[in-house]
């Protein structure tokens, strides 16, 4: 009862799902319950978490960004080209990340200043970035990078690897940005009531544009990790990752209509989806069932949240 009324219903629900899944999978598969396996789950989820962090902001502002998968691939390719051209690794990384971020800047500008619809605009940039990636590479992956760069994808710092650390750092920073800074406050206000924010004297279009830049930046960082981990910049990398990111963000309690956002929820949702994938593979359950289970979990969590929200509305209205 208390849980049902909590502000953090989605997150608590996800935590419960995570725990239940953990217990069930531990019984079903002898391989599940080990530090090594949890480490695997974290490692596999890290890119999803990074992508979801950008998406939380965009969705909480009432927008959406479908271009992240393509931006991921495009940034990775620019980075790869830069390294192949003999640039120093930090320079190449900076170049690749900026290239991706520029795409966010373009979509952000069009969405905020020209008031274009975010769904259609980012759909357009999804094609543009993917097209660029394919054209530039003539559709073949670029591969073979220096070890120092590969370190970003699989190198270890102490007991954990770089992707996990990056994901963790980005999650913490995102949490602070969303909940403790003006930027986060305005993100939520944009999603809740943009006109009220504008009337309060805030340059709303600048803030809205910055969200797409941030989201693209996250995609570009995810691109860097993907290339480094797989030692290959694939123009088709990140295919459909936007659907995973959106699912995780919404599952985590961020409202698709804007105004509400949860970083913690998105991270938990990524972990739930990651653990599910991991568990089903450990149990050697065939692909079709994986899709089925994944869909079911998403639907169950959404239904639970929706039912709870309705109840709350009845109480107040």
């Amino acid at each position: 009862m208390k849980i049902a009324r909590s502000k953090h219903f989605s997150q608590i629900l996800l935590l419960l799902i995570l725990l239940i899944m953990g217990v069930v999978l531990s019984f079903l598969s002898p391989y599940f319950l080990s530090w090594n396996n949890f480490y695997n789950i974290l490692d596999q989820t890290s890119v999803d978490i990074i992508l979801a962090m950008g998406m939380v902001f965009v969705i909480a502002s009432g927008g959406i960004d479908l271009s992240i998968g393509s931006v991921l691939a495009y940034s990775g390719i620019m980075m790869a080209f830069a390294m192949k051209a003999g640039m120093a690794i930090p320079v190449a990384v900076a170049l690749g990340i900026s290239a991706g971020t520029v795409i966010g800047l373009c979509s952000g500008f069009l969405i905020s200043c020209l008031r274009l619809n975010p769904l259609v605009t980012t759909l357009g940039f999804m094609s543009v970035a993917r097209g660029l990636a394919l054209i530039l590479t003539k559709s073949s992956p670029i591969f073979g990078f220096p070890n120092a760069f590969k370190f970003l994808g699989s190198g270890r710092v102490g007991p954990v690897n770089v992707p996990i650390l990056v994901a963790l750092a980005i999650a913490v920073i995102s949490f602070i940005l969303l909940n403790k800074t003006k930027w986060g406050y305005y993100t939520l206000a944009l999603g809740g009531n943009e006109e009220a924010l504008r009337r309060a004297g805030v340059a709303t279009h600048r803030y809205r544009a910055s969200l797409y830049v941030f989201c693209a930046l996250m995609a570009a960082i995810a691109g860097m990790i993907t290339v480094a981990r797989l030692n290959s910049a694939d123009p088709l990398a990140g295919w459909m990752v936007e659907t995973d990111a959106i699912a995780a963000v919404v599952l985590g309690g961020t409202s698709l209509s804007g105004g509400r956002g949860s970083i913690l929820g998105a991270v938990l949702a990524c972990l739930v989806l990651g653990m599910l994938d991991n568990g089903l593979i450990l149990m050697a359950i065939p692909a079709y069932y994986q899709k089925l289970f994944c869909g079911l979990i998403i639907i169950i969590a959404l239904v639970a949240t929706e039912l709870r929200n309705r109840k709350e509305h009845r109480n107040f209205v």
Binding site: S29, Y31, S34, N36, N37, N40, D43, Q44, V47, R130, L134, K138, S139, S140, P141, F143, G144, S154, T226, R229, L230, N231, S232, D234, P235, L236, A237, W239, D277, N278, I281, L282, M283, A284, P286, A287, Y288, Q290, K291
Partner: protein, 361 residues
């Protein structure tokens, strides 16, 4: 022992099957599975050899026909495979003195887009059109339209769904198909031989197919399962990697977690196989697990040379263009081909023979 197993792989590899009589696919699969023992293995120039083979399979060769205009409809150009194939058509056309236009839809799953492209081509008076359908269904209505206009259609790669084509009254003038099952079979067979050569029996192996439900991936998966079973291997898991490197990477990590003594992973394409290799390297298990893919991407070549990937099954997209154009001319010159099936050639490339395939396209 070791050498022999290697050879068998190679052989199978070089099969272009021309089946006289009722050319059923099944026969083809059976045929190649065990008893193909070609000693005429390509030593240095695999490419020229396949070229010769595909042409001999197409005998009697058609006369030269200058100025003929042929259209080709691909699924997409966003895949290096089709980029190489396009080059193959264009080079072959130039050498044969005919005109060829190669077009494609947007992505590998845009079935309707490909149909639209195909229908547009029908309005541009080609003497014949070669199609590489995305699925067995999506181009059928276009084929019917082509039949009405009297444009002969040569179908390459995926075959049209028999029942649906019959119901719609769609007629194909000639087929040149890939045998996807064979591609999986060859890879898994090679993994098994390697395991056995190292003294392993009934070892644990796994299969990674493509997008669940995708035609080629399922064919390769079934072929791989068949080969593993024949060899008495213990298949612990069959997973869908969605053709995605990152997905395959994750799957491999999880597989090795669940089966620390895993010995082989047969993947439905190279992209996934390369993801698996990266995961195994991180897990420190590369030396224990044999990995094969399909496509022989440039990246796979490098990985083979670096002694990481163990094998890649190569189709010959470049050569196939020449074969298909020759087939089209045969159709235009009214050769009787009703009783023949043509298969595109494949080759198994391994760490040992990879240097022979440097100019492979």
């Amino acid at each position: 022992m070791k050498k022999k197993s290697l050879l068998v792989g190679l052989l199978v590899a070089l099969s272009l099957f021309v089946l006289m009589g009722c050319g059923e696919k099944k026969d083809a699969a059976d045929n190649k599975s065990g008893d193909v023992e070609a000693e005429d293995v390509v030593k240095n120039d695999a490419y020229t050899d396949l070229d010769r083979k595909i042409l001999s399979a197409l005998e009697p060769l058609p006369d030269k026909m200058e100025g003929v205009k042929i259209g080709v409809v691909f699924p997409t150009f966003s895949n290096p495979f089709y980029v190489a194939a396009k080059q193959g058509y264009e080079d072959a056309a130039a050498s044969m003195g005919i005109k060829v236009d190669v077009v494609a839809g947007a992505t590998e799953d845009d079935v309707e887009g490909q149909l639209n492209v195909f229908k547009t081509m029908l309005g541009k008076d080609y003497d014949a059109i070669i199609i590489v359908p995305i699925t067995g269904m999506n181009l059928i209505s276009g084929v019917v339209e082509a039949n009405q206009k009297g444009i002969p259609i040569i179908c390459s790669g995926t075959t049209l769904d028999k029942d649906a084509a019959a119901e719609a009254g769609a007629k194909i003038a000639a087929h040149m198909t890939y045998n996807f099952e064979e591609q999986g079979y060859v890879g898994a067979k090679y993994i098994s031989k390697k395991i056995k050569a190292a003294g392993g029996e009934k070892a644990k192996v796994a299969v990674i197919e493509g997008l669940a439900g995708a035609f080629q991936g399922e064919g390769r998966r079934d072929g791989a399962i068949k080969a593993f079973k024949e060899e008495g291997m213990n298949i612990v898991s069959v997973q869908a990697g969605d053709w995605d490197r990152q997905k395959a990477y994750n799957i491999a990590t999880n597989l090795i977690q669940a089966n620390p003594d895993l010995k082989g992973i047969c993947c439905a394409n190279d992209t996934m196989a390369l993801g698996v290799v990266e995961a195994l390297k991180v897990a420190g298990k590369k030396d224990q697990v044999y990995v094969t893919g399909v496509d022989f991407l440039d990246e796979a070549r490098q990985s083979l040379k670096a002694k990481e990937l163990d094998g890649s099954v190569a189709m010959a997209p470049y050569i196939t263009g020449k074969g298909n154009l020759t087939l089209a001319l045969k159709v235009l010159q009214k050769h009787d081909i009703s009783k023949q099936s043509y298969y595109s050639p494949i080759a198994l490339i391994t760490q040992e023979n990879v240097n022979d395939y440097d100019d492979w396209k």
